[in-house]
Subunit: 181 residues, 2 copies
């Protein structure tokens, strides 16, 4: 086998092992500490989610696992590196539109975890009978998220002027994003 073929094989094997290593599964009660480890720095930073910066672990986990939320974790080699919830964004006549919140461990960003979770959530929402997905409040300065959601098929359908008080940038817009399933 020449060096090129060997590299290609190694590459395939690497891709396969990456694929196998990352699983997305329903969260269990045993995941609480790992989920809080991800939530904590993101809530404390206060630059992407509209949650109180001083939220306690109990309140944060109660929010993440609110009634009606299905919670998932992204696990790689036994380590939880991301989590998301999925639920109906509204009740009654609005119950066919899903909403999700995703958080990736800050120490694992850039590895495609948010993308994988979003992909998983789109499939899961569809299998649950949802017909669309809406993000109610994407902070416009969170450009990575805005870019990623657009690449995942979401369109900006609304813009809320100065609706978010960013800890360093001051008032910035928040975006409403939407896609059919």
């Amino acid at each position: 086998m020449g060096p090129q073929a060997w590299r290609a094989k190694r590459c395939r094997r690497h891709a396969l092992s990456e694929l196998r290593a990352m699983i997305i599964r329903a969260a269990t009660a045993n995941d609480a500490d790992a989920i809080w480890k991800i939530l904590e720095p993101i809530i404390r930073a206060g630059d992407t989610y509209t949650l109180p910066l001083d939220m306690t672990p109990e309140d944060a986990l109660a929010y993440w696992h609110s009634r009606g939320h299905e919670v998932f974790v992204a696990e790689e080699n036994g380590e939880i590196l991301g989590t998301y919830y999925l639920h109906a964004n509204q009740k009654g006549g609005g119950a066919h539109v899903a909403n999700c919140g995703y958080m990736t461990a800050p120490w694992a960003s850039g590895r495609g975890i948010a993308r994988a979770m979003c992909q998983h959530s789109l499939g899961h929402a569809k299998s649950r009978g949802f017909r669309a997905m809406q993000f109610n409040f994407v902070v416009s300065s969170n450009e990575r998220a805005v870019d990623l959601w657009q690449r995942m098929g979401f369109k900006i359908v609304g813009s809320l002027p100065g609706a978010f008080l960013h800890p360093t940038l001051g008032l910035v817009d928040a975006l409403v994003m939407y896609r059919m399933l």
Copy 2:
């Protein structure tokens, strides 16, 4: 006094008595039955609010009086003809934007009660330090509401395609409306 002057005087007196008769005040526990009387037909109709059509009185009142909601009633000659809640639409960096839900008794529509409640809520929100007000989900087929909110200074800042399953019209858009305070 000639007939014109007399009519003008009667008109002023009438306007004053109308003004005096309508008060908007904080709701008390004693208002629960009167509030439910308003909520019930609106929830059962299911064409304006994203609430389960079969909601029980207990669940509906618990929702209307959710933690963080300030609830008001519009009272005319001792009869409650409207109710609204006001709260922060988001927490954390989004806590400076208020949100309200208004319901007017169907048997009292066209008498300016929604307008009066909205006016009251804008002043009250401002006095509470809110800097803007957002309506998250105005059903586009509810043209009276869309028109009224526009006359009250709200702009359509977003449109959610087919986000509402109307009981007779099928899927219709929902609007996001917003104004500064």
